[in-house]
Structure formats: structure tokens, C-alpha cells
């Protein structure tokens, strides 16, 4: 860009008949390239956003129609009714993100540094779940966690469910229709989004840096802490965002693996829009979700101090 601009500036000083049109074309090229994306976003993102925001301030009912009254009380009412679902969404998404990180980091590390000729095969395996639809995969977890299934009976025999119950993650002897099931489903479904960015960051890293750290008196743990981890932080940040944001707004897992008592905010928005048909409340909730995720994410990025890394 800058080189092109500089060139254009220089050529501007030389009078010529052909050049101005060439320069104009050059100046226009980046905008032309942006045009399809900008149009797409304008039509399918910006316009709906404004209409959604407008809707969130309306009053009325589905039968009698809604009218624009700029009623900000919609927000306070929606929040005071549904704050537990909000909190639950962020807690579940937070736990799932943490679990994803704990599972994905060692996995990505192994693929990046230790897999040798199996590297590509392992990467395909990481994304293999995407060959099936999100819905089917979540339904499969229903079967896996079913009451008479091998997982539930085994964990019961080993008294793991007792521990889970103590932690408030399960109820009775069941796994299905519990917070544990929802979190498990979220973790499973979003794991690749955590694994791939971390893998990409680690794979870019020169393994000789680890040798250099050890040569400079770092134990393996210290060299991980001082070299590997900071250099993979960009991947970790990207992975947590890609996991946390969709997980916080997800409703499929809570619907198929949870119970009405463990509804997440996505389920509320879903039912307000499509069953209760209370559009202003649904819109207010959607907007609040988006705003709170934005705030959380910007706080997180500032805290991680990785603006320059990302």
C-alpha cells in the first residue's frame, strides 16, 4: 500500500496523458478488492444489527404488532429475569474453555514437536469431527452419556459420580441432563478451535529455542515457562476466543445434553424468538450477550498483553 502510494505521489508530479488513469486504477484496486466483503457485511451484518437494536427497544405483542417506543426498560427487565442464565452461560463456557486448553495444549505440543511422520494424520484427526454435523455429534454424546451406557455405569462403579455430585456437576447417578454433560459437550465440540491455533503457534516456533534455553540453565519446566509458553501465547489467546465466544452463545449442547434447569442464555434467546415470540426481550438479550462478550474479550486481551502478538 505505502509503496504504491509513494509511487503514485512521485508520478503525480510528472505530467502525462496516460498515467493519471493508471494511478487512479491503482488507488482504486484495494477498494475494489474490499467491495464484496464490505457489501456482504453491510447487508447481512450492519443492517440486521441496527434492526435488532431497534427491535430491542420496541413494545407490543406478536398478535397486536410491535411499535418503536425506545423503551430501555426492556433491557433491565430481561436482565433481572434471566441473569442466572447469563451467569451460567459464562461459567459453563469458561470451564469448557479451560478444559479445552488443558486438553488441546499438550495435544498441539505433541503434534507440533513429537509426531514426526504422523503429523498430518494427527491434524486430520483433529478436524475429523467436522466431517459430521454439529447436531449429530452432540446427539452422539446423548448416547455416550445415557443412563444405562457404559460411561455412566463405569463412573458409578468407580464412585466418580459421587465426586461430581459433590461438586454440583451432576444429580443422582445420572450424567445426562446435568451441567457436566453440557460442559463435556461444549468442550468436545469446540476442542478443534482451541487445538489448531495453538498448534499453528507452536509449529512456527524454532525448536532450537528450547535447546538454547536449556543451554542457558533452564530446566525443561523453566524453558517451557519462559520460552515455549510466551511464544505460543498468541495461539492460546486466539484459541480461547474461538472457543469461549461461540460456547457462551451456544444452545444446542444445553438443549440436547442438559435439562431445563441448566438452560444457557442461548436457549432463552432461542425460546423467546421462536416459541414465546417476545421479540423485544429476545433482541435485548442478544444485544446484552454481544456487548458482554465484547467487554470480556477486550479485558482478556488487555490482560494477556498480546495485542502485538495477535
Amino acid at each position: 500500500m505505502s509503496a504504491g502510494a509513494a509511487l503514485a505521489e512521485v508520478s503525480d508530479k510528472e505530467p502525462g496523458k496516460v498515467q493519471p488513469s493508471v494511478i487512479n486504477k491503482r488507488k482504486l484496486t484495494p477498494y475494489l478488492l474490499l467491495l464484496p466483503g464490505v457489501l456482504w457485511l453491510a447487508v447481512f451484518f450492519v443492517v440486521p444489527m441496527f434492526s435488532l437494536f431497534g427491535q430491542s427497544l420496541q413494545t407490543g405483542s406478536f398478535e397486536e404488532g410491535y411499535e418503536q417506543t425506545f423503551r430501555f426498560a426492556n433491557y433491565t427487565e430481561a436482565l433481572s429475569t434471566y441473569w442466572p442464565q447469563f451467569v451460567r452461560s459464562f461459567v459453563y463456557a469458561g470451564i469448557a474453555t479451560l478444559l479445552c486448553l488443558l486438553i488441546a495444549y499438550p495435544l498441539a505440543y505433541c503434534i507440533a514437536f513429537r509426531s514426526g511422520r504422523w503429523k498430518n494424520a494427527l491434524l486430520v484427526l483433529v478436524i475429523a469431527p467436522f466431517f459430521t454435523s454439529f447436531l449429530i455429534r452432540t446427539l452422539a454424546w446423548q448416547t455416550i452419556l445415557s443412563d444405562s451406557g457404559i460411561v455412566t455405569t463405569t463412573l458409578n462403579t468407580l464412585h466418580v459420580t459421587d465426586v461430581m455430585r459433590f461438586l454440583g456437576l451432576t444429580e443422582g447417578d445420572r450424567l445426562l441432563a446435568t451441567p457436566l454433560a453440557v460442559i463435556t459437550g461444549l468442550t468436545y465440540n469446540f476442542l478443534p478451535f482451541m487445538t489448531l491455533p495453538i498448534y499453528a503457534a507452536l509449529d512456527r516456533m524454532d525448536p532450537r529455542l528450547i535447546e538454547a534455553a536449556q543451554d542457558l540453565y533452564s530446566s525443561p519446566w523453566t524453558s517451557f515457562r519462559k520460552v515455549t509458553w510466551p511464544l505460543s501465547l498468541a495461539g492460546v489467546v486466539a484459541g480461547t476466543l474461538l472457543t469461549f465466544i461461540p460456547a457462551a452463545g451456544d444452545y444446542i449442547n444445553a438443549q440436547l445434553l442438559g435439562a431445563p434447569a441448566y438452560r444457557m442464555i442461548g436457549n432463552v434467546i432461542d425460546s423467546q424468538f421462536f416459541r414465546v415470540l417476545d421479540y423485544p426481550t429476545a433482541a435485548a438479550l442478544s444485544f446484552t450477550l454481544m456487548a458482554s462478550i465484547l467487554v470480556l474479550v477486550s479485558l482478556y486481551i488487555r490482560r494477556a498483553g498480546t495485542e502485538e502478538l495477535v
Partner: protein
Amino acid sequence: MTESSPRQPGSGADLNLINVTKSFGDFVAVDDLSLTIPSGSFFALLGPSGCGKTTTLRMVAGLEEPTSGQILIGSEDVTYAKPYKRPVNTVFQSYALFPHLDIFENVAFGLRRRHVKDVKGQVEDILELTELTPLARRKPNQLSGGQQQRVALARALINRPAVLLLDEPLGALDLKLRRQMQLELKGIQNEVGLTFVHVTHDQEEAMTMADTIAVMNEGRVEQLGAPVDLYENPRTTFVANFLGQSNFFDATLSDRSAKVVTATVQGQRLGVPASRVYSPGDDVHLGVRPEKLTLSIQGDDSIPEGHNRLTGIVADSSFIGVSTEYRVEMAWGMQVTVFEQNVHHDIRIVPGASVVLSWDPANTFALDASQSVEAGIDSEVLEAVVGAPA
């Protein structure tokens, strides 16, 4: 760590490798290597790629474990010690600077890991020594190759290791900068007095910097000695070819008890000092360096008495500035390379001229004919072409 090896900072320590062998599967990278590197010396391991020099270095650093043998630093056995518990630091070939840390923190890295006091003062001193002070707050990717090289050196030097390992540290620099850095490195080594072990495939670099060179080939030390000694008295054709160039004549020795042994080349009798015959048998490669040869026009007899002489015809000459390189074809078809200083240039010596090659017998050496005359040539040429690091 350093606490375990009581020694004066900056004094260095002897490095001993005893019968060290390293194999990777069937491939023997280092074959029963024994070396003693005295404290405070600048030691070079020189050889073509794949000769085992880098593997040797990595074993000293602790990044590879020997299959068998022992490595001692001073009196301490470090054969199986972890890399972070050895008083050894490495300047890596690719520098391996930490991209997320600035220059100051890169250099301070080793001190911080050992919880040394006065990190700031020490880092500032070493940055001063390596002329990096103005760059202290830059990130490595904002530096030029030569600057990065100095950071890598400073990062290792600041720890005052007993042994400093340099793995082709100048390989990535262009020729002019490399020459400059060679002198700087040598100067720094003189100043700090540490033991430096330097791995390189560049024979000129090894000769410029090292006190002692070990020429390695196929996992073994081919010959060890001071640069001048290796150059003047190669024991094998590999060393003769790898360090500089050599002309080899097939010769047969006779009268081996004399001080100057007679060698017969295509019926011509030449002299070679008995002390420079490294061959049990009488069949030898009779070697002489191109710059030791003198060219004169036939019949123009000013050649000193007792000098070796052979006649031939100039096939080719190329002017290189300080010298002219000639190729002289012998009657039996062999081509001899001659470097003539451009001091008294004889304009009659042009391609096609009949010339006499002469040289002092003292500059002749005789090597065992069972070796290939081309040992040490192919690998070097290949390396120059591919630019492959060892």
C-alpha cells in the same frame, strides 16, 4: 550448575573427550573420538558436512548423549549431565535468539535463570564489549545478521562458561562481515580468556582464528595441530586437500634411509625430506602446494641447485590480482596448478609456452598411495555449491 564446578570466573577449563562414540541407528556420526582441549585455547573442529563435528559439539553441550565414552570438563564428568547443569554455553548456528525478548533480556537470560545478582551491571558490561548498548531495547528481528550474531555471542559469554561452543557462528554472514567478525571473535577470546570450541567447515576461518585445529572426517580426527603445521605438514590427502590446494604426483620412493628421500615421478628423480614422508610403503602421492612452485621458461636456467624440477606446457592462466593461477600440463597428461605472485611477471609465460616447474624439496611431502587423491575435495566443492551447513 556453576556452583558444582569451583573455578575462577573467566579462567575456562580443560575439555576432555575420551573414546566418545555416537551412533544414530547404523550410522556412526562420531567414531571413538579422543580429544584434549586445553583451558583458554581457541580450538576449531574443521570438516565437511556430516563429518561429526556438530554432533561432537552437541554432546559437549549436552544436547546429545554419547553412545559410549566420557566427556570431562576440568575434573568433572559431564557425560550424562543435563545441558542446563553444565558450565558450557553455545552460540548456535541460527543464533536461536528468543524472539519475544529484547536484546537486554536475551543477554540476561542465563543470569536470571541462575539468580545471579547485579544482572543489570553485567549485561551492560557485555553489551558494551560487543558494541550492542544502543540496541538493548530492540527485538532480535529488528537487528541485522551481524548484530544478531553478536547478541548470540554476548548471551553465551556473559555466563563465563568453562567452555564456549560456537556452532558455525559466522555461517550466515556475508564474506566481508565474516572476516570482520572472525577478528572480533578472536579479540574477544583474547580478552576474556575462555576456552572456545569452534565448529566450522570453512578452512580459512579455522586457520584465521584457532590455535589448534582438529580436522574431522567421517567421525574421526584426521589430523590435529596448529594451523601452520596442518597446512605445511598434512599427513593425509584429505587434510592436504581440505586445507588449501595440493598437486599430487604418483611416485615411488627409493633410498629411504637418506635425509632427503628420492622419489621417482615418470622417470624423473625428485627429493622429499625423510621427515615429511608419511607412508609405510614406497608407493606414494608426492604432494606440493601450488604457491611453492616456481615457473620459468625452458632454457632460461636460474633455478637453484638441488631444487626439484619438472617440465611441462602452460595450458591456461588466469589473473587473480595478487597472484596468477597457471595450469601446466605435464608430458603424461596430468595438470599441475601453480600460483605465482605478481612480483616479477615473466610475459613469456603464456598458454602454449614450454616451462620448467621447480620447487625446494623441503616443500614436498609424501603421503600413502592407498588413499584417494581426491579425498576432501568433493565434499568441500559440494558444500560450496549447496551451501549446506554441517
